[in-house]
Symmetry: none
DNA sequence: CCCAAGCTGACAGCCGGCTGAACGCGAGGC
DNA sequence: GCCTCGCGTTCAGCCGGCTGTCAGCTTGGG
């Protein structure tokens, strides 16, 4: 049961590919892969992890600061986060707590040099799924990543299918009745937020946060406008409005 | 959302209670607890874990051999298993693999003295969720138990079933005999108040409080109106009136 | 039978959401 | 440089459904 949704292979992506949505798309068709975000001061770790995964030239999405990590997490979907606690602009624990407070359930493994038991307990109690002390063995890291993502049963790694819509959150592709539809980045962000928990209600403010990556408050009906545009592209029936509450992906019924 | 379903407290049960199914059942009605099975050669660990958890007289279900563990797992449901690898009658890894092969997804934390990286990797790859090397800190064990079980209950259990009504709190949807019905936010609030403690009687003033969030007093029969509207949508028989007392979810007697 | 408590259809006001249009801006082509 | 195009954002007017109220009715208890 669980093994069906757990990726059998860990795949990593090279940061430079990130700017080109289409290249990623072609690579991420396989539902068996896992996109990993590494929040870490030191790029060499990412390269080491990537190198340790045998298959070819994959890499890790790599974010150096908490700020960039925040916006990455807000706008894109990852299957797993590796989080260094000591970052130039603050404590990773704070990020983790905020992350969890917003209801994001993506599994997180803390990587750190802090060896104290109290640190471990705090990390785990803040919502981390595992805690690994540097220096660690790469094989063990991989095994733990697999163990955690195996256990993770929340968001299907890649493909969300609702009615006759297919959303590949990793490839950034939507298809209605097998016909691929182009979305602008904002339109995608809205759809992405809606598909995070398919069928669940997502509030306007949650969508807004996904659109504007923490902070910058905008007082307007932007969300409504994008919902409207999405409906025009995807078909009227695929997004349900719940007055005063939010939106839900899926047909009315 | 997740923290709502994850146990906030670890509760442990004393082995002697195990023989009395009913006692356990009555104790385990609370969704906030976690029943733990310790498969371990040394009984003192169980006692230490139990002692470490502050609250009262709880204990750990304790199984000494793989054989007894097997039967325990076959007959009873646990939320978490702590597994020692070195048992008198064989390797815990074998048990774990068998366990997983049978499709049982209960989270497992391996406790062991084996410190080799290769052991860790093998353990994790056999289906364990975490791997702790003896001697370990009890606080860390507790934190890891919570982390694992938090992840295990990751998919929010949002479905409440009363009679042939199904209430999905996440999707904000109600289904009667598998037919989904959308509710307005006020209607939902009333139903929510009624379903807070299924089967219990909820007074009008309690419902009113749920509707109008303290303060704003409204002098009218709003509650009656919304009960009426709900009945129209859900069917007449699902909300019972108790004259002068309040309402109760569920069919008459 | 009588009264209190509860039920429900009708209705008007209003709030929240929808969407077409307009504008500014930056990227890219020529 | 100039034009075009696509995208993001704002705004205003429209619309429909939600909501609170009330009146007249039903129900149940004593």
């Amino acid at each position: 049961m669980i093994s069906e949704t757990a990726p059998s292979v860990l795949e990593f992506y090279h940061p430079t590919l990130l700017n080109d949505g289409y290249k990623i798309a072609s690579r991420w068709d396989g539902a068996d892969s896992l996109r990993v975000l590494l929040v870490e001061d030191d790029v060499t770790l990412g390269e080491a992890v990537r190198d340790h995964v045998a298959s070819g030239d994959h890499a890790v999405d790599w974010m150096k600061t908490i700020d960039t990590a925040k916006s990455a997490l807000a706008t894109t979907s990852y299957g797993l986060v590796l989080l260094d606690l000591r970052l130039p602009d603050g404590s990773g624990i704070t990020l983790l707590k905020e992350f969890r407070a917003r209801g994001i359930t993506t599994p997180v493994i803390i990587l750190t040099a802090h060896d104290q038991i109290s640190d471990r307990i705090e990390g785990l109690n803040s919502g981390a799924d595992d805690y690994l002390v540097k220096p660690f063995n790469l094989g063990e890291l991989t095994a733990r990543m697999l163990a955690v993502s195996r256990r993770y049963s929340g968001r299907p790694v890649s493909l969300v299918r609702i009615g006759n819509i297919e959303i590949d959150t990793v490839a950034r592709r939507v298809a209605v009745e097998n016909e691929t539809i182009d979305l602008s980045s904002r339109e995608w962000a809205v759809l992405d937020a809606l598909s995070a928990r398919p069928g669940a209600v997502v509030s306007k403010s949650q969508i807004e946060e996904a659109l504007y990556a923490f902070g910058s408050e905008i007082e307007s009906n932007t969300v409504e406008v994008y919902v409207s545009r999405l409906r025009k592209k995807l078909g009227r029936d695929h997004i349900t409005t719940l007055r005063g509450i939010g939106y839900r992906l899926g047909r009315e019924q």
